[in-house]
Subunit: 235 residues, 2 copies
Amino acid sequence: MTDTASTAAILSGNGASGSKSEQAYATVKSRIVDGTYSPGYRLVLAKIAEDLGVSVVPVREAIRRLEAEGLVTFERNVGATVSGIDPTEFLYTMQTLSIIEGAATALSAPLIGAADVARARAVNAEMRECLQHFDPVRFTALNQDFHSILFEHCPNPHILDLVHRGWNRLASLRSSTFRFVPGRAHESVDEHEALLQLIEAGAGADTIEKAARLHRSATLDAYLAQSNAGSLSAH
Amino acid sequence: MTDTASTAAILSGNGASGSKSEQAYATVKSRIVDGTYSPGYRLVLAKIAEDLGVSVVPVREAIRRLEAEGLVTFERNVGATVSGIDPTEFLYTMQTLSIIEGAATALSAPLIGAADVARARAVNAEMRECLQHFDPVRFTALNQDFHSILFEHCPNPHILDLVHRGWNRLASLRSSTFRFVPGRAHESVDEHEALLQLIEAGAGADTIEKAARLHRSATLDAYLAQSNAGSLSAH
DNA sequence: GTCATAGTTTTCGTATACGATTTCGTACTC
DNA sequence: GAGTACGAAATCGTATACGAAAACTATGAC
């Protein structure tokens, strides 16, 4: 995710590759994802156009594409704003994501080799270390990595696409840190190990999916219990 | 689905409502969905613009939005074509759809009242009739209705959105009929009844989801077994 | 002080124009 | 006859310009 954002930033930096419409799309998207444009931010076509040194037509096109992805809201003759995400929205997005990620993990499982499991274990070990010298930022980044390893062999491109969209949707809430819950972190690491063992044992897709989804749900529940729902929108 | 298409067609007919960009979007989408523009169809901006009586700018915008939805493929300096769907793609789309629909059904289940179950039963009864005086077109339409009833209370808007996107994606394959498999139809009706009973009994989400998904998967498998995979792309 | 209204400003919406890129057909060479 | 090079046509890409809609502001009446 951070990778995607920085890649887009680099692209927008040199600006040499792709059409201007493409550049506008990538840049605005990355700015939404990295929080430069936070929810509610008013996206004025002319300003963005000037900022990027292009005319409004490609910017307009980019904004509409982002709208189709759910990252911005567009209103006729009024303009575009970065999509906000209220507590209910947040819950629904997380719920959807846990379903999709569960499926992605289950579909990947048969294709995950010993090397991948080893990699995932290494990541998990690092997460355990992060718990000792309290480092929530790194912990959550590693958490993302861990699950990415489990997804990466998913043969169904639609599912992977949905996973990414979901995370993009949540990105403006600082996805890299919002899932850290101290009390939950220890269990989380243990659940990761359990998940890896299920995969190694060649458990059925149902079992793996359920485990993956429950794990994600539990993390979400813990997060919600910690921060009262009201503060979500202020994030 | 048919409803959506005809609505869009009506909108494009009077063309009075919404912006021209919106009109272009709705019209092109409906034409893709209803098969007027079938997979591989070359979408030439200028021609569509002329056809709709607008300039190319709003058409271009509409096409890019459709690209973000996966309905068209766009290549720089070359143009847009209606996304084809090869047998593998088809499988992945159906797989994704069965996951999403299973989840949608499970999430709806607690909110489905006796009246809804009765409606669904009525639809199912009609389906049974269709089997007697062989009417596959109506059968598949009713099948769609049946599942829609089960979805409609789904509180998670993202999931519903994904369901619709999935069906749009498949629409150019004549979604209204491609799922009819004579040998499978009878079982299908029985499974519907079983699903309704699970819902009435207040079964757990897991059980309902699994049942719904398995049902869809079985239908897909039967369909694939019937038509050899090669003919899919020609549809 | 509050509300309504008219005028101004901002911003969007799209048509048009022109440059850039690709594609396709034709002629020429080997 | 096959392959290549060149040129014309088709098509995309975007800047600019102007019209339309909404939002904002100031003014005046009550």
